[in-house]
Symmetry: C2
Subunit: 204 residues, 2 copies
């Protein structure tokens, strides 16, 4: 197909496609004349992944390139591939020393402590530090409770990861991580309102 059809089918403008070609996120089409190239389904699929990573998951061009490289030369295991996608959407790791406490918790829960991928450990360490700094004490057993629910959610999510292609696996993880977070947070606030109404206004 021509670039104009690729644009129409992907919903990405011709100018943006040309930009992705220049940035080498998208492989060049095969030349059919000196000024025209032809694109196929693989270009369309790649374009959809690029859009997902940039527009929806909010990755930079550089981060997107990094994820795409791991799609093109996938590491041996899907677990490692998903790690690349997850790391790209995570904030940069901060102080490593502050989260030994988190590693302790993980060992207690029987979770693997993979120091190659500490970004979410750092995020948890920071969040627990912030609670402490605010003088907010979690009720007894609450952290365990949160962990249990998040474990059940993650279990089901990972079971749903499609494995037919590296593209679809990475797309699922990048989008699922970023786009589902606001869903969970909104549901929690709504559920709190509902629980508060039930506890404090049972009559209504």
């Amino acid at each position: 197909m021509r670039i104009s059809e690729l644009a129409a089918r992907s919903g990405v403008s011709v100018a943006t496609i040309k930009y992705y070609l220049r940035e080498r996120l998208l492989a060049p089409g095969s030349l059919t004349s000196a000024t025209q190239a032809s694109y196929d389904e693989s270009h369309l699929q790649r374009l959809r992944l690029i859009r997902a990573l940039i527009s929806s998951a909010g990755l930079s061009i550089g981060q997107t390139r990094q994820v795409l490289q791991s799609v093109d030369s996938p590491p041996e295991s899907i677990h490692e591939l998903l790690g690349v996608a997850a790391a790209a959407v995570s904030r940069a790791a901060t102080d490593r020393s502050s989260h030994e406490r988190v590693h302790e918790l993980m060992r207690h829960w029987g979770w693997r402590v993979d120091v190659k991928d500490c970004t979410s450990h750092a995020a948890l360490a920071e969040a627990l530090d912030a609670l402490e700094a605010a003088g907010f004490e979690l009720p007894d057993g609450m952290l365990e409770d949160y962990r249990g629910h998040m474990e059940a959610i993650a279990e089901r999510e990972v079971a749903s990861v499609p494995t037919d292609s590296p593209e679809s696996a990475v797309r699922f993880v990048a989008l699922g991580t970023v786009l589902i977070e606001p869903v969970l947070l909104a549901l929690r606030r709504m559920a709190q309102q509902e629980a508060s109404a039930r506890r404090f206004e049972p009559g209504r």
Copy 2:
């Protein structure tokens, strides 16, 4: 106590306390001479709440004033009081028409649809719209699953709300909402890593 002692005990500088006094977030002390005022435990408690709302929950001075007003003239029910705190930490409501779908879901779940407090409904509507725009389809039953877990979490959280004073209830809700969100998100990402390792690298 003098303002210097109030500063020492609260960890808030004298200059900042004076600023809060000017902004009428903190009631004036009782004058002991033309240039000195005396403060008591109620000032200390109020100061701690102000710090929690501003530094930890990230509220503006205006939002803090609004929450404090509802602490001083609490609405009839604690549920309404918590609503003021929850609304202050929520993002501004956006397009109201787009979330009729969320109200449908809530009715289906047996949740009260309180149109006075639509900020979190708007947040959920936006999040679901973003998923759709990205062409990300939630696996069957997944939203129900998320809802169930968030409901269980909220149930326990609301059961923990202290009711000894409006101050402590509001502090718990404002801090609990804002500071626990990153805890949950970090736990989910860590649990995903763990589940991914178990699914895709069972041998290790």
